[in-house]
């Protein structure tokens, strides 16, 4: 005996709603809440193509802004309380990664929808942005395990992430910025290091840290180079793909026209054959009137026969490649098949 508790469920939904409103939203949850709204809106873009594309771009921009704001907050927070920051970033990072991943997924879905409508440029741009973002994220996550130098990397990476996202439309500028950043970060690192050394660290530790800094800077530089190369390659790949799809579409159109021509040619040839046959069987032409009449009659009946030949049986489907009905496995099998002995 099953008990329907759907009403109870709806009631609990209402209580949860009111409870959430009463309590407000938690600190970290604020960002995520608004991002949830973004997510809710973005997975199902409606309307025509251009507005959709614009929407997606704006979402990506908003996400970028939120991420930046987040980083800023945390940097501010760091300068006063270190331990709190450590805790927050771990969970926040996980959350951000998760959310960003889902967002990427939805964006890629949206982008795929857009793609079929044939605007490859925007698509390649979006892809480039997306790829860059993924690479950035990977870089960020790689920097996790060193807590003491976390903040410094985060500042430098923040600048890196900020720059490519701001100049997403202009690729050459993007490539320039990462070069500037290492230069910027170095003096910053120096100041950070000094500031820290006064309170807790002995001179040997300062030296160690500085050596480490140098090493890290070198690593970062190599990473930047690699990333730049990858970016360039990816952009090339996207361009090539765009060309490829264009070509394929062109070829499709051409093939269609060729097909039509061939069908017409076949028909003509058939008719020609029939005419020739008719002429040969008729023998010497009789009185012009009767002959033409009979020829016309016969040619018309031949034509009827020809069309019958062209469309032999209902089972052969007309040669229309594009119009194939989608195979539905649930369709009952064709009852005509059973009638054949």
């Amino acid at each position: 005996m099953a008990v329907d508790i759907t009403l109870l469920f709806r009631a609990s939904v209402k209580t949860v709603k009111t409870r959430n409103k009463a309590l407000g939203v938690a600190v970290g949850g604020g960002v995520d809440g608004s991002r949830d709204e973004l997510f809710r809106r973005s997975p199902r873009p409606k309307g025509d193509f251009s507005s959709r594309a614009r929407e997606v771009i704006s979402h990506i921009g908003k996400l970028r802004d939120f991420l930046l704001e987040h980083r800023k907050d945390y940097i501010n927070a760091y300068s006063y309380v270190m331990s709190e920051y450590g805790r927050m970033t771990d969970t926040e990072r996980d959350q951000i990664d998760q959310d960003a991943q889902t967002f990427m997924r939805t964006c890629s879905e949206a982008i795929q929808q857009l793609r079929t409508q044939g605007v490859c440029k925007l698509y390649s741009e979006q892809r480039a942005i997306r790829v860059k973002r993924v690479v950035d994220k990977k870089r960020l996550s790689k920097l996790e395990p060193e807590p003491s130098t976390k903040t410094r990397e985060s500042t430098s990476s923040e600048k890196v992430s900020r720059n490519p996202s701001e100049d997403s439309e202009e690729k050459p500028v993007t490539e320039e910025h990462p070069e500037k950043v290492p230069a910027e970060s170095q003096p910053e690192l120096g100041t950070w290091g000094d500031g820290k050394g006064d309170d807790e660290l002995s001179p040997e530790e300062i030296q160690m840290f500085e050596q480490e800094n140098q090493r890290l800077i070198g690593e970062m530089n190599s990473l930047f180079d690699e990333v730049r190369q990858i970016e360039g390659r990816v952009v090339e790949i996207s361009r090539l793909q765009e060309i490829f799809t264009e070509k394929v579409l062109q070829q499709e159109a051409e093939i269609d026209s060729i097909h039509q021509l061939v069908v017409g040619a076949t028909e003509n040839i058939k008719e020609g054959n029939e005419d020739i046959r008719e002429v040969s069987t008729l023998g010497p032409p009789g009185p012009p009137q009767c002959g033409t009449e009979s020829r016309q009659q016969r040619s018309s009946c031949w034509q009827g026969g020809t069309s019958a030949l062209l469309w032999p049986s209902p089972q052969g489907s007309p040669p229309d490649g594009a119009g194939q009905s989608h195979f539905d496995p649930r369709q009952t099998p064709d009852p005509r098949c059973y009638q054949e002995p």
């Binding site: 005996m1 008990v3 329907d4 508790i5 109870l8 609990s12 939904v13 949860v16």
Partner: protein, 637 residues
């Protein structure tokens, strides 16, 4: 009128499941058109409940295209409704919330096997809100199906977490009160679900001072609370359905395993109980390890390959239904007979084929011919039946052969006979010591079982010297003596010296060697295996049931407690109000049961017209498993 209602718990549970799969709209059979395609998500509990009742084909008929475990990786299928059938545990709820967040399906029909608490419901509501999927959660139901039905009249509480409610869990000495409470709550919850599905409020009787009493008290309380709550009562008239017996209520007899420890150890002779004892059999599925290549391997050259095969022994299997309670030789005979009749029918069909000149063609071609249609159509229409019969014969041949191998290897017939004699206190023709020291007969476990039965049923404990002798013999044979310790202490503790001793009178009449019965060409060459005929005996559980059901007065059962949840006043009186014999009864063994008891009850009720019994237990174990549990459960010395 009263007979039909409680008849088949299996049917009721199946109907409830089908209704649930049909989105909780009563399922109309023969409805035209295809069903709505859906996905079924279950956890292990749900799997155990569904698997003995519905085959995959039946699931497909209900429209289930895909059935998946809850805690597996599932891809999103965005335009399909999903039916969930899970227990409302923390992890399940978490996983469901995750599904909601990931937007896996189009709509969600949530069904909880037992009732879900309000706070967990709010957790789901929270997740649904966060994922803005509230409208997608179409229905939420408490199904009250938290028990597993194995036969028409037999059910078990659970399979997945049976360690929680095992004999050991209930009887171990170091159990705390809170743990006991949890165990009892689990059992009571399942029993409550059972009665909700059955649609009846029973009258409860239980013995005093046992775990069964605790269960009875709690169950009574739960039923009472539910009945008082007029708004949400699950037992109101409209939900009970047609055929509800309004005059008669069933009797629930709650017994504790400890009243009879000999039966779980007993060697058995009926088909189903043997399969359970000797082979790997649970949830109506038996797993065999076949060593193929025995018959056709040339002089030991080819090594025996061991295939694992599993068979489902379902209610559709007519042979099984007929013979699961028969003594084994009868089963062997019947398999032989079935095989012969099958061969006769097959020959008939072959003859027809050769007459038509279609030797060697497949059966499908036969239907093409037009002459002699009547004969052919009848032959053809009987072919699926024949094939099914062949499959069943193969199945049972394999199973029975495996059982027979065990019997021959361990001389189980000898043990059975001897134990019967012990339990009925007829004179023993062979000394116990002889059997124990015999290296050919049986595994060490068999010997341990035999000795324990002897020990349990003995009127007075054997003398120290004898005991030492026995112990030495047992250890020589390779037995672990821990179970003996336990039984000793149990016996002392239980003060039930009188009760388990009387197993009723029985005689086993050996009908001599059986080899003549088995015709040539048979695989059941039971040379040296005695054909023992069981005479009806009543195990303790059956006796108790008999007393209570027929309102007989008996010192054993007179001081059983009496609960009636429908009565306004809560206190029980030992004097039952109802003086009439009961027509329906449910026997539930707290602490574990087995097929021997079930079979005994079935045999008992067969003789009574118009009465029905359902048998349930908190878990189902065979002797091996029982000994394992007992080994680890030593009372504090």
């Amino acid at each position: 009128m009263a007979a039909a209602a409680a008849a088949s718990i299996r049917e009721r549970q199946t109907v409830a499941l089908k209704r649930m799969l049909n989105f909780n709209v009563p399922h109309v059979k023969n409805s035209t058109g295809e069903p709505v395609w859906k996905v079924l998500i279950y956890d292990r509990f749900g799997q155990d409940i569904i698997s003995p009742l519905l085959s995959v084909k039946e699931l497909r008929d209900m429209g289930i295209t895909l059935h998946l475990l809850l805690h597996s990786d599932r891809d999103p299928i965005p335009d399909v409704p999903a039916v969930y059938f899970v227990m409302p545990t923390e992890e399940n709820i978490d996983r469901m919330c995750q599904d909601l967040r990931n937007q896996l399906y189009e709509s969600y029909y949530l069904n909880f096997i037992s009732a879900i608490s309000r706070s967990k419901l709010e957790d789901i509501a929270n997740a649904a809100l966060a994922a803005s999927a509230v409208t997608q959660v179409a229905k939420v139901f408490d199904q009250y199906l938290n028990f597993i039905t194995l036969e028409d009249d037999m059910f078990v509480l659970c399979n997945q977490n049976k360690e929680l409610v095992s004999y050991r869990a209930i009887n171990r000495p170091d159990i705390t009160d809170t743990e006991m409470e949890t165990v009892m709550d689990t059992i009571v919850d399942s029993l409550f679900c059972f009665f909700v599905t059955l649609g009846a409020v029973p009258i409860i009787r239980c013995s005093r001072g046992t775990a069964a009493e605790m269960v009875a008290v709690k169950l009574d309380k739960k039923l009472r609370e539910n009945l008082r709550d007029a708004r949400n009562s699950l037992f109101t008239g409209d939900t009970l359905g047609a055929g509800q017996f309004s005059f008669q209520r069933p009797l629930l007899v709650l017994v504790d395993r400890n009243i009879d420890l000999a039966t779980p150890l007993h060697h058995t002779w009926t088909y189903q109980a043997l399969v359970h004892d000797v082979l790997d059999f649970h949830l109506n599925r038996v797993n065999l390890e076949e060593s193929s290549g025995v018959e056709n391997s040339p002089a030991g050259a080819r090594p025996k390959r061991k295939n694992k095969k599993s068979y489902d022994l379902t209610p559709v299997d007519k042979f099984w239904q007929k013979h699961k309670g028969s003594p084994f030789p009868e089963v062997a005979e019947s398999v032989q007979q079935e095989l012969e009749s099958y061969r006769a029918q097959e020959d008939e069909v072959k003859r027809l084929k050769s007459i038509m000149g279609l030797e060697g063609e497949d059966e499908g071609a036969i239907s093409m011919l037009s002459d002699n249609t009547a004969k052919l159509t009848s032959a053809v229409s009987s072919l699926p039946e024949l094939l099914e019969k062949k499959r069943l014969i193969d199945l049972h041949t394999n199973v029975a052969t495996a059982v027979l191998e065990h019997i021959k290897a361990r001389k189980l017939d000898v043990y059975f006979e001897y134990e019967e004699k012990i339990m009925s206190k007829t004179t023993l023709d062979k000394s116990l010591l002889d059997i124990i020291s015999d290296p050919d007969a049986g595994t060490p476990e068999d010997k341990m079982r035999l000795f324990l039965i002897y020990y349990i049923s003995a009127q007075q404990a054997p003398s120290e010297a004898d005991l030492e002798q026995y112990k030495k013999a047992l250890t020589d044979a390779g037995c672990n003596l821990n179970p003996l310790q336990y039984i000793k202490q149990w016996k002392a503790f239980a003060k039930m010296a009188s009760a388990p001793a009387s197993y009723g009178n029985t005689t086993t009449k050996p009908m001599g060697l059986l080899s003549r019965v088995m015709n040539t060409g048979s695989q059941f060459v039971m040379e040296g295996v005695k054909n023992l005929v069981l005479k009806q005996q009543n195990l303790p559980v059956t006796r108790i049931l008999d007393n209570l059901m027929e309102m007989k007065s008996n010192p054993e059962t007179d001081d059983y407690r009496y609960f009636d949840p429908k009565m306004l006043r809560g206190n029980d009186s030992s004097v039952p109000r109802n003086k009439n014999p009961f027509q329906e009864a449910i026997v539930f063994v707290v602490g574990g049961g087995n097929y021997i008891e079930y079979q005994n009850l079935v045999d008992y009720i067969k003789g009574k017209q118009g009465k029905h019994i359902l048998y349930g237990c908190s878990e189902l174990f065979n002797a091996t498993q029982f000994i394992k549990q007992v080994k680890c459960t030593l009372l504090v010395s």
